[in-house]
Amino acid sequence: MPRHPRPHGLLLALALSAPLSPLAQTAASPPGQLLASNCFQCHGTNGRGPGFERLAGESADEIYGELLEMRAEGARERGRDIMVRHALGYTDAQLRQLAQWLSQQPR
């Protein structure tokens, strides 16, 4: 959705510098994976599309920050955007956790 452009740059580069290798995830259910899977219906499996913005490999701070902005907007008014309402359904801790997991996925 063009209303939420995602800045690229330093934060992104930092996030990409230390991705968690998927091969290292031998234990079932890494933290945040199931939570983040709520995003996949619209943003693609593992946040890699097809669909609305790709989330995989974006910085956790960016994803989390944007979700907080959406929540603030959704609380102020019945927004036109489905995501500003949707974001209100998750706790702070849940948003942090899913953002963290998404940030660790290969783009």
């Binding site: 031998t26 079932a28 259910s29 949707h86």
Partner: protein, 430 residues
């Protein structure tokens, strides 16, 4: 044998393409590092899945991705899935059967799921076995039933095609489309809405709006009579009441609290709790329940013995713990709809991955629902809700602030609907 050794062995056997990633390295292995594209050579667990709709296919894919060497077999009656989602678009000619059909190739070739095209005649909930129409019996550590819905019989309805429900996509949707096209320009169409719970709560109202909008152009003096068994709009009250009593008020006649008791096929007439009504086309959306194999197995003990109660931490049947019921056949507080069925499937797959690894299901699962409803040929509205697990009631409870609908409808939401559909189907089938 570790992953590298396996790859070397496959390469030596000329089979290395089997283990090559289809899209990217990240999707090439399951959680245990085993190749994803082929069934595990030494499975640590086996799951039999019945039903290849939104819930069943999503479960298969994520069970393979998130499990460690879990062997997954899908049994589905049809060779492909004909989507009920967006099938109202088919009725008015904006979509075709072809672009609402989704196959099982990715499940087979990308995720190493064994896919069997067959009907299931019996489920043994204690032994966790499934009997196929040809007599074969499949057994697993767990059975997952993603069996969707079936319809109550309707007295008098000797030919189901005479008054199609068109509520499962496929042939009946095409049939209803053809019946609508053949109706006279001043004809009467009747659409019935069953008592809750039924599949896709906003669906019948969306269908009424979509057809009313189509009638204005194609059948300019036609009427659409909507008979709702419920006391009021089941979903999206603001938007649908504005559309029914405003935008489409010249076409739609809306009656609430009307139960259909008998279908007179020869007279094209419905007998109802408030009298008889005749229609040139009758879209009889009958009351719904879990299919016979679920009910015969003794699992459908909730909602007037229509649907299967489950523990929503794992979707294990509360009657038979080795059988899990996901999607529309289960009795939960969540709507019966494809988007949330996809998420229920992921919760179930995650729970089984943990259980097979010796752990416990996630104690705080979250699911979500999102959907778009067409109001006109170019405009749509949306609904969304997030459900959080409540440990006290042991149910999924809608997070109050997140349960919302769009304010009105517009063309931007219509475009989002197309993107949402493509993404949802890719997450479930690709």
């Amino acid at each position: 044998m570790n992953r590298r050794e396996l790859l070397q062995a496959l390469a030596a056997a000329g089979l290395s393409h089997l283990a090559l990633p289809v899209r990217a390295q990240a999707q090439a292995t399951d959680a245990g590092g085993n190749p994803l594209a082929i069934p595990p050579a030494s499975p640590k667990a086996r799951v039999i899945v019945v039903g290849g709709g939104m819930a069943g296919t999503t479960f298969c894919k994520y069970m393979r991705m998130w499990g460690d060497a879990v062997d997954v077999t899908l049994v589905e009656r049809f060779a492909s899935f004909r989507s009920p989602i967006l099938s109202n678009e088919l009725l008015v000619g904006r979509r075709t059967s072809a672009n609402l059909t989704f196959g099982y190739t990715a499940l087979r070739e990308r995720y190493g799921v064994r896919v069997i095209t067959s009907a299931v005649t019996e489920v043994d909930p204690v032994a966790a076995t499934v009997r196929l129409k040809d007599g074969r019996v499949l057994s697993g550590d767990r059975v997952v039933l993603a069996t969707g819905i079936e319809f109550d019989p309707m007295p008098g309805l000797t030919d189901a095609n005479a008054m199609p429900h068109a509520w499962q996509g496929g042939a009946q949707a095409v049939l209803l489309k053809n019946q609508m096209a053949a109706m006279p320009a001043n004809g009467t169409m009747v659409l019935t809405i069953p008592k809750t719970p039924y599949r896709c709560p906003p669906g019948p109202y969306e269908r009424a709006c979509t057809i009313a909008d189509w009638m204005k152009v194609r059948k300019p003096r036609a009427k659409l009579i909507v008979l709702d068994a419920n006391p009021d709009f089941v979903a999206h009250r603001d938007n649908f009441s504005n559309a029914f009593f405003g935008l489409h008020s010249q076409v739609i006649e809306y009656h609430t609290g009307v139960d259909v008791t008998f279908a007179d096929v020869a007279q094209r007439t419905l007998h109802t709790s408030t009298g008889q009504i005749q229609g040139d086309v009758i879209n009889l959306i009958r009351r719904q329940r879990a299919p016979a194999i679920v009910r015969r197995a003794g699992l459908a003990t909730a909602t007037e013995r229509r649907f299967a109660p489950v523990d929503v931490l794992s979707y294990a049947s509360t009657v038979a713990p080795r059988v899990h019921v996901i999607g529309d056949s289960s009795a939960t507080t969540q709507p019966k709809a494809g988007h949330i069925a996809n998420q229920e499937a992921k919760v179930c797959a995650d729970a089984l991955a943990r259980i097979f690894g010796g752990g416990q299901p996630d104690p705080q699962p979250v699911t979500n629902s999102a959907c778009y409803s067409t109001i006109t040929a170019t405009q749509a509205a949306w609904l969304t809700a997030v459900f959080q697990y409540d440990p006290v009631s042991r149910t999924m409870v809608p997070a109050p602030d997140s349960s919302a609908a769009s304010v009105g409808w517009d063309s931007e939401h219509f475009e989002e609907m197309e993107e949402w559909f493509d993404a949802l189907m890719a997450d479930s089938f690709a």
